[in-house]
C-alpha cells in the first residue's frame, strides 16, 4: 500500500534520490486539484446520506412507521413515475459523458446538443420529483402524517439540493466556455461534472431502493443491522 509505505519513511535520513526539480507545481495543475477536492466533497455527501439512512432504518422499526410500498393502496407499490425519473437522471449522466467526448474532439455542435440534453434531462428529473411530491400531498401522504413520508420528503429534498448545486457548477462551466474556456479545459471540467452526475445517479438509485422498500424488507435490514 502506497500510504503505508509513505508513513514508514524515515525523513531524518538523507533521501536516496533527491526529488525532481523544476516540475510544474500542482498549484497550477487545476484538474488534479479539482479532482481531489471533488473526491473529498463526495465523501462528505456520502456521510450525509449515510447518516440520514441510519436514522431512517432505526425509525423504520418504530410503532408508527408505515412503509410507502407493499399494499396496493400505498403510493410506491407501483413506482412507475420514479422509474421514469431514474431514466431521466441516467440519460443526463450519459449525455454529459458524450459532451466530454465531443469536447475532446472539439466538435462544437455535438457539444451543444449533448450539453442541452444534460440540462434538459436533469430538469426533467427535478420536475418529476416535484410531481411525486405533489401526488403524495394530493393522496394525503403529507410530510407530517407518517415518519416514512417525512423521510421521503427530507431525503429527496436533500438530493434535489445536491443536484441544484451540481447544476450551478455545470452552468458556470458552460458560461465560461462561452467566453474563454478552451476545448481541453471544457473536457477536463466536464469529466468532473460527469463524475458528479454519476454519483447523483448512484445516490438516487440507493434512495429509490431504500424509500420504496416494504415493511418486511425493513424488518430484515433491521434484523441484520441489530436495530
Amino acid at each position: 500500500m502506497h500510504i503505508l509505505k509513505t508513513l514508514r519513511v524515515k525523513p531524518w535520513l538523507p533521501a536516496e534520490l533527491e526529488p525532481q526539480t523544476n516540475l510544474p507545481s500542482a498549484l497550477l495543475n487545476k484538474e488534479k486539484s479539482a479532482s481531489t477536492a471533488l473526491q473529498f466533497f463526495l465523501a462528505v455527501i456520502t456521510v450525509v446520506f449515510l447518516l440520514f439512512t441510519i436514522t431512517f432504518l432505526q425509525r423504520t422499526q418504530s410503532f408508527d412507521f408505515q412503509a410507502l410500498s407493499g399494499e396496493p393502496w400505498l403510493p410506491f407499490t407501483n413506482a412507475n413515475i420514479l422509474w421514469q425519473n431514474s431514466a431521466y437522471l441516467l440519460l443526463a449522466s450519459i449525455s454529459i459523458i458524450l459532451a466530454k467526448k465531443f469536447a475532446e474532439q472539439q466538435s462544437l455542435y455535438a457539444i451543444i446538443i449533448s450539453l442541452t440534453a444534460t440540462t434538459l434531462f436533469t430538469l426533467l428529473f427535478i420536475s418529476g420529483q416535484v410531481q411525486v411530491w405533489q401526488q403524495l400531498n394530493q393522496s394525503g401522504f403529507y410530510i407530517t402524517t407518517n415518519p416514512a413520508n417525512s423521510y421521503y420528503f427530507l431525503l429527496t429534498g436533500v438530493h434535489a439540493l445536491h443536484i441544484v448545486g451540481g447544476v450551478l457548477v455545470f452552468m458556470r462551466c458552460i458560461w465560461l466556455f462561452y467566453f474563454n474556456l478552451s476545448y481541453q479545459q471544457l473536457a477536463s471540467r466536464l469529466k468532473l461534472c460527469a463524475r458528479y452526475w454519476h454519483y447523483l445517479f448512484f445516490i438516487w438509485l440507493f434512495l429509490f431502493c431504500l424509500l420504496t422498500s416494504d415493511a418486511d424488507t425493513f424488518k430484515t435490514i433491521a434484523l441484520i443491522c441489530g436495530f
Binding site: T6, V9, P11, L23, S25, T36, F40, V48, R59, F63
Partner: protein
C-alpha cells in the same frame, strides 16, 4: 524562445493577479494570509463575547442573586452561547480557518491555496454564520438556552429560553458554518495533497501540518452529523415532523409529535461532538510539537510515531462518541465497548505527551513566552487527559455525570489546553505576520496570569464536582448534601475567573501595541527550519515566494545537527550548502555526506 519558457510553471508569477486597491487587498482578498487574519480577528472577537458570557455565568455562581440582570433564563442562554461559540466559532475557526489558512501554503512552499476564490467565500460564509448566531441576541426571546448540546425535545419546546427564534437561528447558523467549513476544509486537504513544493514529501511536513491535515479530514467527515441533526431538528420545529420528538405533553397541552427518538439526536450530536474534540486538539498537538522542538533546539522525538499517533487518534475519535451518553440508558455491552475504545485512545495520546517530554529532555530549552505556553499546555493537557480516563469508565462517569467535575475536565482538556497552544502559536508566529515581537514582559505576565489563574478556576471545580454540585443550575438554594463551603469555593473560582479575564485584556493590549511599536524581530527570529520563515520577503508578501518557489531538501527538524556551524538547517538548504565547523576532522556527520 523566450526566457520564461525555462521557468517552472509555478515560478511564473502572474503580476496581474496582485490586487492593488484597498478593497482587493484587505476585504475581498483571495490571499490566504489576509483570509487567515480575517478568520482570526472574527474568531477572537466572537470569542471575547463568549468570554464575557462566561464571566456573567461566574458572577451568578459565585454571588447568587446579587445581579439583577442575570435571571434563570439568561443564565441558561449564557451557558449555551458560551459553549457553542467557544467550541465551534472560536476554536475550530481560529485553529483551522486562522492558523490553517496562514500556515498551510507557507509551510508546504505553495503560493496560495489551490482554490483562492473558494477560500475567500469560506471566510465570508463563516462571517455570515457568526452574524446569524449573534443576531439571536436581538430577537424576541433571545438566544437559545438549551445547553450547547441542544438536546431535543427540550431545545424546541416552549418553556426553554429562546425556543422560538433563538433555536432556529442557532441551527441555521450551524448549518451555514458547516458549509463554510466544508469550503475551507476541501481547500486545506487539497492544497496539502496537491500543492506541496518539490521535495516536500508528506513525511517531511512539520507536525503542525499533519495536525491540521488530519483534523480537517475529521471535520469534513464529522460535521455532516451536526448538519443532519440540525436539518432534522429544523424540520421538527418548523414543519412538525417527529424525527427526534416523542409523544409529549408540554405545559398541559398534548403536542402533535409522536414516535421520535431524542436519543437518536444524542448519537448524531456526539458522532460529531467527539471528533470535534480532536478537530481542535490535533492542530494544537501539531503546533505545540513544533514550538517545543524549535525552542528546545532539538528535533522532535519520534517524528514518525507522532504522525502515526495523530492518524490513530483521528481514526479512533469516530468510535468513542457514546462515552458522552452513559447515562442515556444504553445497553451495558454498548457502554463497555465505548469505555474500551475510550481507554485505547489514551495510548497514542499518552505517546505524544511522552514524546514532548523526551524532546525537552536534555534539550537546549529557551524559556521564551511561546515555550512557556507550550510547557503549560503539557501540564493542563495531562491533567485534563487523566480526568478523561476517569470519566471514560462507566462506573466512575455515572455518579459524576452532569456535575462540575465534567465541566472542569473538559475545560482543562478542550478549553485551557488548546488556548495555551493558541497563545504559544500567536507569540511564536506573530513576528511572521508583523515583523515584530510581542512584548516579552507583558507576555510572561500573560502566561503566569493565565496558567495559574486557570488552575485556580478548574482545580477547585473538580472538587465541587466530587461534592455533587450539578452543572447548569442557576442557583443551588438550600441543598442539604452540599456544604456551605462549596459556595465559598464558587466565589473564589469566580474571582479567579475575573482575574484571568482581565489578564486577557493585557494580551490584547500587547497585540495592538506590538503590531505598531513592538521590537523588530528581523528574519527568522527563532532560527526555525520550516519553510514559512524562509520567504524572500519578510513578512511574506502576496504570492509568498518572490520569483521562485523553494526546493525542499530535508525534514523540518534539523536542529543541533553535530558539527554543523548553525544549530539549525532550514528545509530549503541543499546538502552542499550546509556550513560545517572549521575542523574537518570532526566533520563526521553521516547524514550530510
Amino acid at each position: 524562445m523566450t526566457k520564461m519558457e525555462n521557468v517552472a510553471i509555478a515560478d511564473q508569477v502572474d503580476h496581474s493577479s496582485h490586487p492593488s486597491t484597498f478593497m482587493g487587498k484587505y476585504i475581498w482578498s483571495q490571499d490566504h494570509k489576509v483570509i487567515a487574519i480575517q478568520y482570526s480577528i472574527t474568531a477572537i472577537a466572537v470569542g471575547l463575547v463568549a468570554l464575557v458570557l462566561s464571566g456573567m455565568m461566574r458572577l451568578q455562581l459565585g454571588f447568587p442573586n446579587e445581579f439583577s440582570f442575570i435571571d434563570p433564563s439568561s443564565y441558561l442562554q449564557f451557558v449555551t452561547m458560551h459553549g457553542m461559540i467557544m467550541v465551534i466559532y472560536l476554536l475550530t475557526a481560529l485553529l483551522l480557518g486562522g492558523f490553517g489558512n496562514y500556515l498551510i501554503p507557507l509551510m508546504i512552499g505553495a503560493r496560495d491555496m489551490v482554490f483562492p476564490y473558494l477560500n475567500m467565500l469560506s471566510y465570508w460564509t463563516y462571517l455570515l454564520s457568526v452574524t446569524v448566531l449573534i443576531s439571536s441576541f436581538l430577537v424576541s426571546g433571545g438566544p437559545t438556552g438549551a445547553g450547547w448540546t441542544l438536546y431535543p425535545p427540550q431545545a424546541i419546546l416552549s418553556g426553554t429560553p429562546g425556543a422560538d427564534a433563538g433555536i432556529l437561528l442557532m441551527l441555521l447558523s450551524l448549518a451555514i458554518f458547516i458549509v463554510a467549513f466544508t469550503m475551507g476544509g476541501l481547500n486545506y486537504v487539497t492544497t496539502i495533497l496537491q500543492a506541496r513544493t518539490n521535495g516536500m514529501t508528506l513525511m517531511r511536513m512539520p507536525l503542525t501540518l499533519w495536525g491540521i491535515f488530519v483534523a480537517t479530514i475529521l471535520g469534513l467527515l464529522a460535521f455532516p452529523a451536526l448538519l443532519v441533526s440540525a436539518i432534522m431538528m429544523i424540520f421538527d420545529k418548523v414543519i412538525g415532523t417527529s424525527f427526534f420528538m416523542p409523544a409529549i405533553l408540554s405545559l398541559g397541552e398534548t403536542l402533535d409529535h409522536s414516535g421520535g427518538s431524542p436519543i437518536l439526536f444524542q448519537h448524531l450530536f456526539w458522532f460529531f461532538g467527539h471528533p470535534e474534540v480532536y478537530i481542535v486538539a490535533l492542530p494544537a498537538f501539531g503546533m505545540v510539537s513544533d514550538v517545543i522542538s524549535i525552542h528546545a533546539r532539538k528535533n522532535i522525538f519520534g517524528y514518525r510515531m507522532m504522525v502515526w499517533a495523530i492518524i490513530a487518534i483521528g481514526g479512533l475519535s469516530f468510535v468513542v462518541w457514546a462515552h458522552h451518553m452513559y447515562v442515556s440508558g444504553m445497553n451495558p455491552y454498548f457502554g463497555f465497548f465505548f469505555a474500551t475504545t475510550t481507554l485505547i485512545i489514551a495510548i497514542p495520546t499518552a505517546l505524544k505527551v511522552y514524546n514532548w517530554l523526551l524532546t525537552l529532555w536534555r534539550g537546549n530549552i529557551h524559556l521564551t513566552v511561546p515555550m512557556l505556553f507550550a510547557i503549560g499546555f503539557i501540564f493542563t493537557f495531562t491533567h485534563g487527559g487523566l480526568t478523561g480516563l476517569m470519566l471514560g469508565n462507566v462506573v466512575i462517569d455515572l455518579p459524576l455525570s452532569d456535575t462540575f467535575f465534567v465541566v472542569a475536565h473538559f475545560h482543562m482538556v478542550m478549553g485551557v489546553s488548546p488556548i495555551m497552544v493558541l497563545f504559544a502559536a500567536i507569540y511564536h508566529w506573530f513576528p511572521l505576520l508583523t515583523g515584530r515581537f510581542l512584548n516579552n514582559k507583558l507576555g510572561k505576565f500573560h502566561f503566569w496570569g493565565t496558567f495559574l489563574g486557570t488552575y485556580a478556576i478548574y482545580l477547585p471545580m473538580h472538587y465541587l464536582g466530587f461534592l455533587g454540585v450539578p452543572r447548569r443550575y442557576y442557583a443551588m438554594g438550600d441543598t442539604d448534601f452540599i456544604p456551605e463551603s462549596a459556595q465559598s469555593l464558587n466565589a473564589g473560582i469566580t474571582v479567579s475567573a475575573i482575574i484571568v479575564g482581565l489578564v486577557q485584556v493585557v494580551f490584547i493590549i500587547n497585540v495592538i501595541w506590538s503590531t505598531f511599536k513592538g521590537k523588530k524581530s528581523g528574519r527568522n527570529p527563532w532560527q526555525a527550519t520550516s519553510l514559512e520563515w524562509q520567504t524572500a520577503q519578510f513578512p511574506p508578501g502576496h504570492g509568498n515566494w518572490g520569483k521562485k518557489i523553494p526546493q525542499v531538501h530535508r525534514w523540518a527538524y534539523d536542529y543541533s545537527v553535530p558539527n554543523v556551524k548553525d544549530d539549525f538547517i532550514p528545509q530549503n538548504v541543499a546538502p552542499k550548502d550546509v556550513e560545517y565547523l572549521a575542523d574537518e576532522k570532526n566533520n563526521n556527520n553521516p547524514r550530510e555526506k
